[in-house]
């Protein structure tokens, strides 16, 4: 099992943490970034997944 990763929204800085998921839009804790639906969007500024990048 690899560690959970974090992805940051390039527009507003929101962080998607795989460990936490995104409760409000029904993404369960532990959901991998690849498994987040393509039409999911940043809960804070509305932009799409393509605006996110891996946080290292």
């Amino acid at each position: 099992m690899s560690d959970y990763k974090k992805y940051v929204c390039g527009v507003c800085g929101h962080i998607y943490n795989e460990a936490e998921g995104d409760e409000e839009s029904g993404i369960a804790p532990g959901t991998r970034w690849e498994d987040v639906p393509a039409d999911w969007h940043c809960p804070e500024c509305g932009v799409g997944k393509d605006e996110y990048s891996l946080l290292d």
């Binding site: 527009v11 800085g13 804070e44 500024c45 509305g46 932009v47």
Partner: protein, 337 residues
């Protein structure tokens, strides 16, 4: 206690939701001019390339906020603040004409800044500052597309928003000319090297970028509008994007201390101890306005905790970055914010 919030942008809504989660008993009323719900302003600059934008831009309908215990009065405007009896005057659908507050949070945001020489021509140009603006622009554009015409736009101002809008219209297939007063794009945020890169990206997407332009006025000519520099050039429509102007009028009339924004201390408190300001409209003691989503949410969440008695230390700005939403552009160096 009754808390009144003016404005349903990211500042007002983030504060209301966080404060609701801290406090079960306080009464929270949010009053806003908007009718469409809480929407994403950053997405305005993707308003042409995304077809479903008028729906997808809504982050939360007002009914959803109401369901969580926030009393939202939409389509209404606060016209004055009476600090003597701690009330605000309201016009619109509400029965009440005046509402008492114990604490008032001013989150009135900002409008587009119109340089004074352009003001006499305000019937000749559009701005892109709100969802209402975007809908008007999209309707106009659709009218031209319906006649099989390819819209010809002039964008006045090559700052963050001007570059974003120019890019979005160009990738949507329109003809775009961008007039900028300076010798490089986004000179306030970008180092020269990144400005040059941005110029290349915009040119490659078909934008005609004109630097060092002294635009001194506009004119109407039949169904075209003209931009006047040394020469006069015709377009279907113009968008002025020359920065933003905090909406400080209410606070100013109420005698609060106002600079570029409403002056607040490190506790987001104005010169009246019952009144706070957040977001684009708030000017911190260092003279800064934090007009970006991330620091505004931080201010709003901090104030909610503070008013709920859970926060003692003053607000400190978080580290944050931003990014011009120009299709295909990635700056090499950090932005200057």
């Amino acid at each position: 206690m009754r808390v009144i919030i003016i404005g349903s942008g990211v500042a007002g809504v983030s504060f209301a939701e966080k404060f609701r989660s801290h406090s079960k008993d306080d009464e929270i009323t949010l009053i806003t001019k908007e009718n469409d719900g809480y929407y994403s302003r950053p997405l305005l600059s993707r308003g042409f390339s995304k077809n479903d934008i008028e729906q997808s831009i809504i982050l939360k309908p007002f009914d959803k906020l109401r369901a969580s215990g926030i009393n939202v009065i939409s389509g209404a405007e606060i016209t004055s603040i009476d600090r003597g009896d701690k009330s605000v005057a309201i016009t619109g659908p509400s029965q009440e004409k005046s509402i008492h507050y114990d604490k008032l949070v001013v989150a009135t945001g900002s409008s587009a800044f119109i340089p004074p020489p352009f003001m006499p021509y305000n019937a000749l140009f559009f701005c892109l500052n709100s969802l209402v603006d975007l809908k008007a622009l999209r309707k106009f554009r659709q009218g031209l597309l319906n006649q099989n015409r390819r819209p010809e736009w002039a964008i006045i101002g090559g700052g963050l928003i001007g570059c974003e809008v120019a890019s979005d219209l160009a990738v949507s297939g329109d003809n775009v000319t961008l007039f900028h007063a300076m010798d490089r794009l986004m000179e306030r945020q970008l180092v020269a090297e990144d400005s040059a890169l941005l110029l290349e990206v915009l040119k490659n997407s078909g934008v005609n970028v004109l630097l060092n332009q002294n635009v001194h006025g506009f004119a109407k000519q039949e169904n075209k509008v003209c931009v006047k520099t040394d020469m006069t050039t015709e377009f279907d429509a113009l968008i002025v994007s020359c920065g933003f102007k905090p909406r400080t009028e209410l606070a100013g009339l109420a005698g609060l201390e106002v600079g570029r924004g409403i002056k607040v201390n490190q506790f987001m408190q104005t010169s009246d101890e019952s009144i706070y300001a957040l977001g684009d409209v708030a000017e911190l003691p260092n003279g800064k306005l934090y007009a970006f989503i991330l620091p505004i949410r931080s201010q709003a969440h901090w104030l909610a905790g503070f008013l709920a008695g859970q926060e003692q230390q003053s607000w400190t700005p978080p580290v944050f970055t931003t990014k011009a939403k120009v299709h295909g552009f990635e700056a090499v160096h950090p932005y200057n914010l």
